[in-house]
């Protein structure tokens, strides 16, 4: 069994990954509660935003800061466009159909990315905080990792506050509780949904940028990283932001802490599935498992 010094370096890596999964998970849960759509294209949108940022920096020689903003805005706009067109068309369909439609979007975007940005070319995004590492015990930590964790915390807390104290946040919670009554009360449902799509998309763009730096700038890898986010959201039963955050951090940590254990390191990819299944079985055992939209906590 590896020693503590072998595990230590994987803690900041795991926490950073978990922070970004939490960021994405919050976006996914809020969108689901407000619109009933489980957005499986979350990763693909972030990936395309990151590739656009890469092109802006390396081909068009745009300042990096502007490219990063463009990446995040692309996430917001692309998600909003999808929501306003297909979200509306599929509003009356059941959640499985809506989720499958977003999977279609993910696959379409993946095809476009593979065409426009072929895999053979080496690409990377380097944030200014990347090469400023400091030591914490036996672990080397860079400021990008700190930002990833911090951003995850800030967005989780910030979103929870937003949902509690702002008018539009209250409207989103009302939509999550009961869409028909909310509409009857004169809440501008379409506008609230649009806000949810756009906000969720901004988080997709931000997550894509951070993951492109922390993990890899590859369309396939970034698209399917949504699996980690989805697992965190499922463990939270697509309801609780706090549980989403904790689950995401646990998934990120466990996935990385397994790495130095030679006997199971090759099974790391199973981490999100195993944890999600274990959590869901546990919840169903306690009869708390429910598909109903019961509000955002």
């Amino acid at each position: 069994m590896p020693s503590w010094s072998n595990f230590q370096p994987f803690i900041p890596i795991g926490l950073a990954a978990g922070g970004v999964y939490a960021l994405s998970g919050v976006g996914m849960v809020v969108l689901y509660r407000a619109t009933g759509v489980l957005n499986l294209a979350f990763g693909a949108i972030g990936a395309m935003g990151a590739l656009i940022a890469w092109t802006m920096i390396n081909t068009w020689h745009v300042p990096a800061g502007i490219a990063y903003v463009a990446c995040i805005l692309f996430g917001g706009v692309a998600t909003l466009l999808y929501g306003m067109v297909f979200g509306r068309l599929l509003a009356a369909r059941d959640p499985l159909v809506k989720a499958a439609a977003t999977l279609g979007l993910a696959l379409l975007m993946l095809g476009v990315m593979n065409r426009l940005w072929p895999a053979q070319v080496t690409r990377s995004i380097t944030l200014p905080t990347d090469n400023t590492a400091f030591t914490f015990g036996d672990a080397s930590v860079d400021w990008t990792q700190v930002i990833a964790v911090g951003f995850g915390v800030v967005m989780t807390v910030g979103t929870a506050i937003f949902l509690r104290v702002t008018k539009i946040g209250t409207a989103m919670r009302a939509l999550a509780d009961d869409r028909e009554i909310t509409a009857t009360l004169g809440v501008p449902v379409r506008r609230v949904e649009a806000a949810a799509w756009f906000g969720s998309g901004l988080l997709a763009g931000a997550a894509g940028l951070l993951l492109a730096d922390l993990v890899t700038l590859a369309s396939d890898g970034l698209t399917f990283i949504v699996i980690f986010t989805l697992s965190a959201a499922l463990i939270a039963r697509l309801r609780s932001l706090t549980v989403t955050f904790v689950a995401a951090m646990v998934i990120g940590l466990v996935d990385n802490l397994i790495t130095p254990i030679n006997s199971i390191t090759n099974f790391r990819d199973m981490t999100p599935f195993v944890l999600a299944i274990a959590a869901l079985l546990f919840f169903s055992r306690e009869r708390q498992y429910s598909f109903a939209r019961g509000g955002i906590r």
């Binding site: 590896p2 072998n6 370096p9 994987f10 890596i13 990954a17 072929p118 895999a119 053979q120 070319v121 080496t122 690409r123 990377s124 380097t126 990347d130 090469n131 590492a133 080397s140 860079d142 990008t144 922390l214 993990v215 890899t216 700038l217 590859a218 396939d220 890898g221 399917f224 990283i225 990385n256 790495t259 130095p260 390191t265 090759n266 790391r268 990819d269």
Partner: protein
């Protein structure tokens, strides 16, 4: 009053517009082709006549892997770029070469069907330019049965043992041997060998295991999910496995290697161990992406010469062909496109050697099999149709955004501790290669 045009008017007008558009496009294309032909005149591609070949096409097949994390289509695409240059220079005595390329996603069933489609349905007369993780494993027996002698950039074991296959490259196993030898030469105390967990890659570590054992250097083998690589996690794992004074041998495609090396840099690990890599890392794209922080820190086993430091005729022609015809060679200058270029040249040499000028599977494959003593500045030794003709190569490292030859490294013979290398050297000695 506005006049409205019914469908009886609109449809013919639309057809007219489409026809005019197509004509303009065709004119533009032929102008472009014409421009290509003008530029191609004087290039030493094939016969070098500067005249476009317009006869019956000669169909040459190829299979390449194209999936998440692994895309080798640059190899056949560059071979085809050379074919296009040849076609603009008289072709094969007036016959243009047409490439029939099929891509694969490491699916044995589909791969077997692809080979059958090429030979029995599409009726290619030869196969040149293939590069697939498992093509040789799945299809070499079939190629032998159908009397096809395949020119390829090999990966699987069968590419280097089947009499129906002849690789221009060393492949990941022997290139990894070279990277391991370099790590040992740099006094590594332990080696961590890391590669993709794609099926069929176990073969790659065999030679490094023997070489490390012969040098009494411990070696540990790791794998990664290349399609979902986390660079920082992989880099930390490798450095821990290598230990202080150790070396890491990477056997990955450039995007995956870049993710790992950048992950190492984020964690301040670039100076903790010796970093070496097999041939795929030999690309200026990688050197540029890594930046000056990696100057002289990543030793890459390069199976072919460094284009930027070689003004030999093949190197010069390669760059011209890449520029003029290689728009779909995404990786640009680097080992993969060099493999493709050499494969194209070999195929053309074989075709031009057919005295009867009758191009059938029998004549073409006999010509491919008879290829020998092909001298090129890409390789340390002349190429011949055989199991491992490229067994001596170069070591390079990044310097300010480019890959450069490690000074005084010369041509590095791959160790004869690896059994096939020993066999091949004995063959070459006996036949004065």
């Amino acid at each position: 009053m506005r006049k409205h045009f019914g469908w009886r008017v609109r449809i013919p007008v639309a057809m007219l517009v489409v026809a005019v558009g197509l004509t303009i496009a065709a004119t533009g294309f032929s102008k472009t082709s014409g421009a290509h032909a003008v530029k191609a005149a004087g290039l030493a591609c094939g016969l070098g006549t500067g005249q476009k070949a317009t006869g019956t096409p000669i169909k040459i097949g190829a299979i390449a892997v194209k999936q998440a994390g692994t895309d080798f289509t640059d190899i056949p695409n560059m071979a085809n770029a050379y074919f296009q240059c040849v076609n603009d220079n008289g072709g094969i005595y007036g016959h243009p070469i047409v490439q029939d390329l099929l891509t694969d996603q490491t699916d044995p069933g589909a791969l077997a069907a692809d080979a059958k489609q090429l030979i029995e349905t599409d009726h290619v007369v030869g196969i040149a330019g293939s590069s697939d993780i498992i093509d040789c494993a799945v299809n070499s027996a079939y190629y032998k049965k159908m009397h096809f002698n395949v020119l390829e950039a090999g990966i699987a074991e069968q590419c280097y043992s089947s009499p129906a296959e002849a690789p221009v490259n060393m492949g990941p196993r022997y290139s990894a041997d070279g990277a391991t030898q370099t790590a040992i030469a740099l006094h590594a105390k332990k080696i961590a060998f890391d590669q993709s967990n794609v099926p069929g890659t176990q073969y790659n570590l065999g030679g490094s295991k023997l070489i490390a054992k012969a040098a009494h250097v411990p070696i540990q083998f790791l794998t990664e999910d290349a399609a979902n690589i986390n660079g920082e996690t992989a880099a930390e794992k490798e450095v821990q496995a290598a230990g202080p004074g150790g070396a890491v041998v990477l056997v990955f495609t450039p995007p995956v290697a870049l993710a790992i090396l950048q992950g190492a840099q984020h964690l301040g690990l670039e100076n903790k161990v010796i970093w070496t890599c097999a041939t795929p890392c030999n690309t200026d794209f990688l050197a540029t992406a890594l930046g000056s922080a990696w100057n002289h820190k990543l030793y890459v086993n390069a199976e072919m010469n460094l284009i930027s430091q070689d003004n030999g005729p093949n190197s010069v022609l390669y760059q011209k062909v890449l520029k003029l015809y290689g728009s779909n060679v995404a990786g640009g200058i680097g080992s993969f496109s060099q493999f493709g270029f050499l494969l194209g040249q070999l195929a053309v040499k074989g075709l031009l050697s057919i005295k009867s000028k009758v191009y059938t599977p029998q004549t073409v494959n006999a010509a491919f099999k008879a290829l020998k003593n092909f001298k090129t500045d890409f390789l340390c030794k002349p190429w011949y149709f055989g199991p491992l003709p490229n067994n001596t190569d170069f070591t390079v490292y990044p310097q300010d955004g480019k890959m450069v030859l490690v000074p005084k490294s010369g041509c590095l013979p791959i160790s004869t501790v690896d059994p096939l290398v020993k066999q091949v050297r004995a063959y070459e000695k006996a036949h004065h290669v």
